[in-house]
C-alpha cells in the first residue's frame, strides 16, 4: 500500500512541477502589471514540444541524444526519495540527503557534457558557468545537510522530517533558520533563478542553464524543461518540508493525506510568491559576483551548524 502511495506521490510531483513554474511566471507577470499567461501555460508548452520535430546537430554524438533521458531519469529518481506528503516513505532508506545532492549533480554533469557536444561556443560557455556555480554551491549544501542532520540524528530525509515534527522547538531554532536561508540561496543558484541566472533571458551572454540547451529541440527539449521544472519543485519541497514540516502526514489515512496535500500546496504557493518577489525586485548578478553570494550562503550554513551544535 505504501509503495503505491510512494509511486503516486512521485507521479503527482511530476505532474505538478510545470504548474509551479507557471505559477511563478504568472505571479511575476502580475507584479509587472500585465495579465500574463495562465499558470498552466507550461503544460501547453510541453505538449507542443512533444509534438515537434527534433533537429540534431551533425557534430553531436550519441551522448547528445542520451542526455535528456539521463537528466530526466535522475531527477525523477530523486522525487521518489523526497517526502512530499507522508513520512516515512518506504523508499526512505534507499537514499539520504547526500544521495539526493549527488543524483542532482549527475544530471548537471551530463547536461554540461551535452552543452559541449555540438561544438558551439555558447554551449561551452553554458557548461563552464554551470559547473562553476554547481561546484561552488556544493559546500553550502553539504554543511546545511550537516546542520539538519545534527538536529535530527540522521541524514535520511524521512527521519529529519519526523524528528522536526516531534520537537517543534528545533524548527524555530536559529540553526534551522540560518540553514533555511543558506539553502534558499543555493536553491536559487541550482535551479537557475535570479539573481544567479535569468530563466527568461534571450541574451546568450547572460545565460547559464539556457545556454547548454540551445541545441535541443522537440521532445528532448521537453524532457529537459520538465526535468528542470521538477528540480525546481524538488528544491521547493525540500525547503518546505524539511524546515516547516507541519502538515506532512505521519499515518496513512485519507484525512491526513488530504491535509498534507493542502499544506504542501500552501507551502509551495508561499515559496513561489517569495521567489517571484525576489525575481522582480533583484537584478541578475554578474557571473563573478555569484561566488560572493554563494560564499555568503556558505558562511550562513557554517553559522547554522555552529549554533545547532552549541544549542544542543
Amino acid at each position: 500500500m505504501e509503495y503505491v502511495l510512494e509511486v503516486s506521490q512521485a507521479v503527482f510531483a511530476l505532474a505538478l512541477a510545470p504548474l509551479v513554474v507557471g505559477f511563478v511566471r504568472w505571479l511575476k507577470a502580475r507584479m509587472q502589471n500585465r495579465r500574463g499567461a495562465p499558470p498552466w501555460q507550461p503544460y501547453f508548452e510541453l505538449v507542443k514540444l512533444f509534438g515537434k520535430e527534433v533537429v540534431v546537430s551533425q557534430q553531436a554524438s550519441w551522448l547528445f541524444r542520451c542526455v535528456p533521458y539521463i537528466v530526466f531519469a535522475s531527477t525523477l529518481t530523486v522525487t521518489f526519495l523526497v517526502p512530499f506528503f507522508f513520512v516515512p516513505g518506504p523508499l526512505d532508506r534507499v537514499g539520504d540527503l547526500l544521495a539526493v545532492v549527488y543524483l542532482l549533480l549527475l544530471g548537471t554533469f551530463f547536461l554540461a557534457l551535452a552543452g559541449l557536444d555540438p561544438g558551439t561556443a555558447f554551449g561551452g560557455m553554458g557548461s563552464s558557468r554551470e559547473m562553476t556555480v554547481a561546484a561552488i554551491a556544493e559546500p553550502t549544501i553539504a554543511v546545511a545537510i550537516f546542520s539538519l542532520a545534527l538536529g535530527a540524528g540522521s541524514t535520511n530525509l524521512g527521519r529529519i522530517v519526523t524528528q522536526a515534527l516531534g520537537n517543534p522547538a528545533t524548527a524555530i531554532s536559529p540553526g534551522h533558520l540560518l540553514a533555511f536561508a543558506a539553502l534558499f540561496i543555493v536553491a536559487l543558484a541550482e535551479t537557475g533563478r535570479l539573481p544567479v541566472d535569468n530563466p527568461a533571458t534571450h541574451l546568450e551572454l547572460t545565460m547559464i542553464h539556457e545556454a547548454m540547451i540551445l541545441e535541443y529541440s522537440g521532445r528532448y527539449l521537453a524532457l529537459i524543461e520538465w526535468a528542470a521544472a521538477l528540480k525546481f519543485m524538488i528544491f521547493l519541497a525540500l525547503l518546505a518540508n524539511l524546515f516547516v514540516p507541519w502538515g506532512v502526514a505521519t499515518d496513512i489515512t485519507p484525512v491526513a493525506l488530504a491535509v498534507a496535500l493542502i499544506a504542501l500546496l500552501l507551502k509551495l504557493g508561499l515559496l513561489s510568491l517569495l521567489i517571484a518577489i525576489i525575481e522582480t525586485r533583484v537584478a541578475k548578478l554578474r557571473l563573478f559576483r555569484v561566488p560572493e553570494l554563494l560564499g555568503v550562503s556558505f558562511v550562513l550554513a557554517l553559522l547554522a551548524v555552529t549554533s545547532s551544535f552549541l544549542l544542543r
Binding site: 502580475r30 500585465r34 499567461a37 501555460q41 508548452e45 515537434k52 545565460m207
Partner: protein
Amino acid sequence: MLLSKFIRTGLVTEPLNGDPARNVELAHETRAEIRRHLGRALAIREVDAGSCNGCEIEISGLTSPVYDSERFGIHFVASPRHADMLLVTGPVTRNMEVPLLKTYEATPAPKLVVAVGDCAKHCGVFKGSYAVIGSVADVIPVDAFVTGCPPEPAEILQGILAALGRLPQKK
C-alpha cells in the same frame, strides 16, 4: 513599496481590438494542425534580415505590460531550435540571406513565418538598393504579412494570431 506600487497601478493590459484586415495579409489558409499544435503555446524567434530597427522597437513593445503577448501563450526565445515561428523584419540584404536560410532550416517543423513591416513585404524604401536581394518571401516561404512602416504592436500581434488561425478573418 513594490507591493503598494503594483496594487496602485493595477493591470494595464489593453484588450486586443482593431481591424485586422487593414494590415494583416495571410499568404494562405492556416492549416488546422497548426492551430491545434501551436495555438496555445507559441515560441517566436525574431530575425532582423536587414531592417532599420523601427519594426524591432515595435516588436519589443509586444512584451510590454500594455500589449502583453504572453497572455496569448506567446513568448520569445533565443534559439530557432526552440522556436515555432520566425518573425522576420527588414528587406533581405546580401549578407543576411544565408543566415536567414540557416535560421529557417534550424527551426523544427511545424513552423510558421510572419514577415513584419513594408520592407519585409516589398522592400519598402530600400527597393532597388545594391545591398538588398529581395523581400522575405523571395528567400523563405512566408505565412503572413503585417504591413506598415512600422506597424503598431497591436497589428503585429493580430498578424501573429491570424497566422495561427486564432483570429476570425474578416474578408
